[in-house]
Subunit: 329 residues, 2 copies
């Protein structure tokens, strides 16, 4: 490997606050089911107070991906902003314990560390209310050109676009990756996020080498209701499209190369949180370790299959062991 890191991931540094809830709770508190909604500090405090039996876990989409990459044995750096408060310390130690490097300076003042309040209904769906807090404070000074240059892949999450102040930091990172001929990978994050930033995401495609999107996100990006239309759009774009389709598996396409891969068998889907994040982890592990597109897609499916078979958005079993058992590494 010519560089120090397999992947540098940039994303919102968020602590998840997870609790079981019923549909009545969602209705009572006006929570949109199954999607991610941005909330302010006041509403965050209100929801936290109303949810019984909440558990905390370090989260954030790209941070979860970095955790998955570490579980596979990859070397990664995470960039994202927390405040120097209890949740911020918890986020940082959560990543470091897994072996992910995390050096972004904590904010001393300003808003508290970001949190995502996740209400899990009995049907296994998660409804997320995100307070971005300190994660909005990411600045160009937090981006080290040398770190970007030292990584084979720069991975950025679409959720970052919800923080207009952080855009200068993202642009700096992409410019550094391009200047050093590093690959840029991007996840569309969420169909509503695509709705908010569609024009910018389309313009961004010219700088992207690897696009992660689930079916709904990709349909929102290309404004179509037809999956095959999405596939044909991605195929006239030069990058690698990794299109995930839940129980239908995934389609990986780059120009004339197309793979249609089944989902990894899962005994029971317990909680779909983090499926996309872990798919990206497995896929990026494959791409940074000399695997072809099909093998990378299978690694993505394996990692996603692990994370949806239990609560929480990060692996509970060594992905490296699972991948070895499956003959994928």
């Amino acid at each position: 490997m010519s560089s120090g890191y397999d992947v540098v991931g940039i994303g919102n540094a968020i602590v998840d606050i997870i609790a079981p809830a019923d549909d009545e709770f969602l209705a009572q508190h006006d929570i949109s089911k199954g999607v991610m909604t941005l909330i302010d500090a006041e509403r965050a405090a209100h929801l936290c107070g109303a949810l019984p039996m909440a558990q905390e876990a370090a989260g954030g989409s790209a941070a979860n991906t970095m955790a998955g990459l570490a579980s596979l044995g990859a070397i990664g750096l995470f960039v994202g902003k927390v405040k120097a408060d209890r949740l911020g310390e918890s986020f940082a130690s959560g990543l470091r314990e897994l072996g992910v490097r995390y050096t972004t300076p904590m904010a001393d003042g300003g808003p508290p560390t970001a949190c995502c309040i996740i209400a899990v209904t009995p049907d296994g769906q998660r409804s997320m209310s995100t307070y971005l807090g300190a994660s909005r404070e990411l600045t160009p000074a937090d981006i080290s050109d040398a770190d970007i240059a030292a990584a084979e892949v720069l991975y950025i999450e679409g959720y970052l676009w919800d923080m207009p102040d952080a855009k200068a930091a993202i642009n700096k990172a992409i410019a550094a990756a391009k200047a050093n001929r590093r690959k840029v990978a991007f996840t569309l994050s969420d169909p509503f996020c695509v709705g908010r930033w569609r024009a910018e995401f389309l313009a961004l495609l010219k700088d992207i080498d690897i696009l992660f999107a689930n079916e709904e996100e990709a349909k929102a990006l290309f404004e179509t209701e037809d999956f095959d239309a999405v596939l044909q759009k991605t195929r006239i774009w030069p990058g690698i499209a990794a299109l995930t389709r839940s129980e239908k598996g995934c389609v990986i396409a780059q120009g004339v190369e197309v793979h249609v891969l089944d989902a990894a068998p899962v005994e029971r889907v317990v909680d779909s949180t983090g499926a996309g994040d872990q798919f990206a982890a497995g896929f990026l592990y494959g791409i940074t370790h000399g695997k072809g597109l099909a093998q990378a897609g299978r690694l993505g499916g394996l990692a996603a299959g692990e994370v949806i078979s239990h609560y929480g958005a990060r692996p509970e079993t060594s992905l490296r062991t699972l991948a070895a058992d499956a003959g994928l590494v």
Copy 2:
């Protein structure tokens, strides 16, 4: 159109004898559940006698496809052998009423018209016992080079390979199609049929322009358990592969062109019999009417969706009307 027929289909001319049965009946009569087994005349007579409340319906895989093509408004000819007995007359009138041309001379002597005894268990599964009877008597004299030359596509079913005596007729038909630069379409019919004739089917691929296979059949042909491996095999073959995947929809591939199409929405799957036959009908209608591969695949999905929403292997609703309502024709 430069020719008189859209499609000439060659297949076993079979009358279906359908009756409800329980698992005890299957066990008592040693019937393998969910698959097609070949039986002799004695066993056919025995099973017919044992099954109460049987209903007759003209069937046969390629004949069902021709019925679907007629329902879409295509012009077709069916070639297959019956005896001049009651079931033979029933088969012939069943096709002609739908507007399918059928001119194969009936056998005066020899075995009776073929029948397929279908035991339908309460779980909706169909266990088929096929007595090939007169359909085995197809000879080269039944194949008209002029008819083959007059059709845009020659469509043949893999089940024909179970009749070694009919092979000369099939070879004559393929030679006539090739000599007249007509397309040859072929369905693998059944995974067990592929198991019986795998080497011959692989050798046949060089003469095939359009291959129909469901996932299990295609996996049996290429001896793999991985759908993507099937897809990659078909893509280095120059023909069109139409790979059907039940509720997962279908994948249509020809070299660098690949389409991943969802299954048509179906309220309730009542009886999956004929899904493959009708997919072929819709697809061949598209191919013979100037539609691209994606549109042809959608027509196939639409026709399959109609036939699985009711009992029986032929359309009950005008496929032409359904296709028009869906904006596909």
